[in-house]
Subunit: 373 residues, 2 copies
Amino acid sequence: MKVFDELNPPARLLLGPGPSPVHPRVMRALGAPVLGHLDPELLRLLDDTRGLLRDAFRTGNELTLAVSGTGMAGMESVLGGLLEPGDRLVVCAAGFFGHRMAELASRMDVEVTKVEKGWGEVFTPGEVEAAVAAAKPKAVAIVHAETSTGALQPMDGLGEIAHRHDALLIVDCVTSLGGVPVEIEGWGADAAYSGSQKCLGCPSGMAPVTVSPRAREVMAGRGRPAHSWYLDLDLLERYWGGAHAYHHTISSSLVYALREGLRLVAEEGLEARWGRHRPNAEMLWDGLEAMGLALHVADPALRVPSLTTVRVPDGVDEAQVRGRLRDEYGIEIGAGLGPLKGQVWRIGLMGHGSQKANVILLLAALVDLLKRP
Amino acid sequence: MKVFDELNPPARLLLGPGPSPVHPRVMRALGAPVLGHLDPELLRLLDDTRGLLRDAFRTGNELTLAVSGTGMAGMESVLGGLLEPGDRLVVCAAGFFGHRMAELASRMDVEVTKVEKGWGEVFTPGEVEAAVAAAKPKAVAIVHAETSTGALQPMDGLGEIAHRHDALLIVDCVTSLGGVPVEIEGWGADAAYSGSQKCLGCPSGMAPVTVSPRAREVMAGRGRPAHSWYLDLDLLERYWGGAHAYHHTISSSLVYALREGLRLVAEEGLEARWGRHRPNAEMLWDGLEAMGLALHVADPALRVPSLTTVRVPDGVDEAQVRGRLRDEYGIEIGAGLGPLKGQVWRIGLMGHGSQKANVILLLAALVDLLKRP
């Protein structure tokens, strides 16, 4: 019989595209005693959690909860909740996760019009409006912080554009929530989703989701239930909300962790948190450029503070550098995805990981490794 | 601004239908440092986990993994993986989870033939064969241990029956895996799913799944991909298996916990574990009957050792007793579901929770509470 050794994962400094370093208080919360999914105390903690999530999303949306899955489960729950087969959706795709939204929606037999730009570019309001005016979709979906490219989509005016054309605005906030200004009501966004393991600084496994009253009306008018039972936002709301109807056995451990991560966000204050992520990112950008490296997104105003893409210098084996960073320094950074595979490294400074000490350490390690190939 | 208090969940003795008490070693594993989803060490731990899962399921099935969700996500991933719109499915339903399988499959536009029996009954091979012969389905689905009724479905001959009629056999093992004999290959089962928070003694959030080579051939012949992207077993296998293609950010914390729970299963030995659950359940049954209470499933051979349903005595407020058990003794037991709501209590002795001390304590507490209403 095969013997399985004692669990002994190495301590990695997680400076990749997520998961991010988990705050010690969140780790401690994970270890609290497990509660049943209908225990009054757990239901109280769920209430707290949705209140904290509303603050983080900057919304008063009643339907605000966390899906029991990763950010991708959040994406699928939102697309599947708002859209049904035959509906039209415009997806603005300028990176891996934009294209993925289109892929998920297509699989639900939604008619997808994909507006594409280069990996690292963002969309102008005019481009979004032209696409929406032409396709007359039920919704338009866009990625706020594209984790594959490091490009930050300006959101001003997009809600107005969508609503002027009687469409809903869906926003992917996976890499921005809790680290980069997210203003669900300010943007006029109708639905958004995120993940626990990025700027919220929790382990992965919970996907925050919020849906506007306008989008809920659309959901209420569906001709058939959502494509997925497990990811059905109506059923999830009946569990998280007043009725607390049994749906699935939510993981109290992950709820504890998410609530604790959100408490840390509230204690620090959202503005202060955004104000920490931004200068630490600038310090990283300055350092990388001082080393002679080029940032993939040229305009600093269009860079995601929590996720930086830097070009791999000519002649450098990018996988070897990542492997040595991991093995010699215990630091994880990410590889490029899709057309950026082999072209960029992805460096995350997210949540608890956004610290000057981490920036300096990573820069010094890169100087060392690029000097001695 | 609302202040959210420090996390302080009470320590409950979880003797309901799950989650079950988590072994201290599993709790400790939860706190190990988080790893990225593509870290070589995490991939090694995933390999261990699927090896351990094969042993627990008693199968050599290559496609054996854990879906990143609860047992319901496991159910949906299996139904959605094997079936496509228009396929025929026979569901044997004699309780909440049998009916739920039918509900999930119907939502996928599968043509479901539901064979129904009373809540607490089981199916004979003849009944299953008659239904399969009449409907000529692509698959027949049955619940091994019906968590809503406490009835244990005898599995002998069902695989043969399914295969004789060119159908696949799908089995719900949510409440049996790790506590009650499960023999995926011995039964000739083609797909099965479970949850981490029952007899495996882990927090919820991971759903073990296994699929036979025969069922994989059927999956390979699909006309379209599975209905859900997040729960797509083909994509999950590409991540868990050799290619390790990025699919979602698996929660290393939950993987650690599941692996540790499975290590505990392997150390104890499956037979020894089954041999622990059964006599502890018998002790509970004897004690309840000695108190004058009636068990919902009359035949001891057809009772699930890990989940007992006991009739609420006439004139007793079942919710009040459960509330007092929780508040005065710190013990959780479950209410009845569906037609058994208000009729039964559900008592779980699962995984680490299956201990003589827990049986005695619960019996004594029930004696106290039923004596002093």
